[in-house]
Symmetry: C2
Subunit: 299 residues, 2 copies
Amino acid sequence: MELTKTEIIEAFKDTQDHICKSLEELDGKSKFKEDLWERSEGGGGRTRVISDGDVLEKGGVNFSAVHGPVSDLMKKQLKLEGESFLATGVSIVLHPHNPFLPIMHMNIRYFEMDNGAYWFGGGIDMTPHYVEENLAKSFHGDLKKVCDEYKNDFYSKFKKWADDYFFIPHRNETRGVGGIFYDHLTAENTGLSKEELFQFALDLGKMFPKLYSFQVNQNRNKNFDEKNIQWRNIRRGRYVEFNLVYDRGTQFGLKTGGRIESILMSLPENASWVYNFVPKAGSIEAKTTSFLVKDKKWI
Amino acid sequence: MELTKTEIIEAFKDTQDHICKSLEELDGKSKFKEDLWERSEGGGGRTRVISDGDVLEKGGVNFSAVHGPVSDLMKKQLKLEGESFLATGVSIVLHPHNPFLPIMHMNIRYFEMDNGAYWFGGGIDMTPHYVEENLAKSFHGDLKKVCDEYKNDFYSKFKKWADDYFFIPHRNETRGVGGIFYDHLTAENTGLSKEELFQFALDLGKMFPKLYSFQVNQNRNKNFDEKNIQWRNIRRGRYVEFNLVYDRGTQFGLKTGGRIESILMSLPENASWVYNFVPKAGSIEAKTTSFLVKDKKWI
């Protein structure tokens, strides 16, 4: 039996449920609030946002499944052939309060055209305000493990893809320590079945709260001061720069009239721009900056 | 005697000097710090930033004069005909600390090609965190006075241009109460002489500190609380969205490798994104939102 779009949509909803539940347990204080929304051309979503938590200052875990006719803009930007489409996925960005905990992002998505074409895309990447080498290694190690269960070259290819994608050219720095990113995966170009590609996405979804909980539990009780907060907010400023200037999903959403509050839930509660801020030589801030380069081998 | 580019460049430098001096007097506490920079392909600039002032939390008053060969990107994006160019101008963004004082922006610029083509561009616009109708009217009235000295239709045309330019489509709101914006003005398309267009730019530069001082002096000592700060930071978030997503100068600078800290000096020290923040009905925040529409007649 061929995998149906309904099965994919339902499994993505379950993934959202599972992640929200796990993150609420991790946080221990705040709960997600849900907004249901509908798209006039077809479909809709469940936006869930948590704020003012013990760990999470602001976090969003969004599910959406939208469908309808392919617009001219979509034809041009996504180079789609066909008349109608379905796009469904789960998108997450978490902004913790403590500067020693990382921002973490995940997206898994499935795209299908009326002409039968389909593909999977997704990724997970981590943006510590303060990079700790052993934690970045552990993060990449866990991602590699999941990738290796599916294909030998997935990790190396998707790690490179993340380095190239999560990059801020005008700063000449990566958004964080990277992770994995992939797009347009099909049975044809991977040699895997559609079911396996789907399972890969679900495995990433299942792993996400474990990855985040591990990172959080290392430094959850670490003390911080005003200087750490300032640095956190400057790093968040870079996150805002990436998302507003380069992130393809954000750009596409802004141009095509997506639900703006769902798209921009990725932006932090506070961000800061200090003119020409240069960390002191030898500081932990300067050390973090030195890690924000492409093609660093973490494992 | 034909107006030379050297005269324009020197007058723009004087304009920067005059504005910095006036703003330091207004602020009364902080002074501008200057960074000189050079562009490898030709020219450079004087970036001046003030921070931690009595009025100004962060402000930049930049002068630049860059020249060199026309790149492929410039040919494509600016539709330039010719092989080499000169671009010079003064750019200002002021972010006050007190939420009851407005953000104000000005840009005056001159562009010249080796084939003899030239044009002027510029604008002034105001973004109050809290819109006060009488202050917006006074602002527009002063802009109209300067415009009227040059041409009857300048104010109405440039006011409309500002409404269209300083607009955030994904929020369906204007950046603030607008002002004036113009581009590609030449003797041919205005019926004025090159000298008059130049004088118009200088008059705007001369007027800028007066405009800002007037606005500041109305509310300089007004008390504010945490709620006002939160609202200010949310409005600043919108300012960041406009500048990173839509502002042509910023976009062009980011893509062509301009000096990043000079380009992004326009971003505020703190900005905030709160999921789905809706001001209470009848509040001064809600009243401000109601003013952020295109084509409002202020005078």
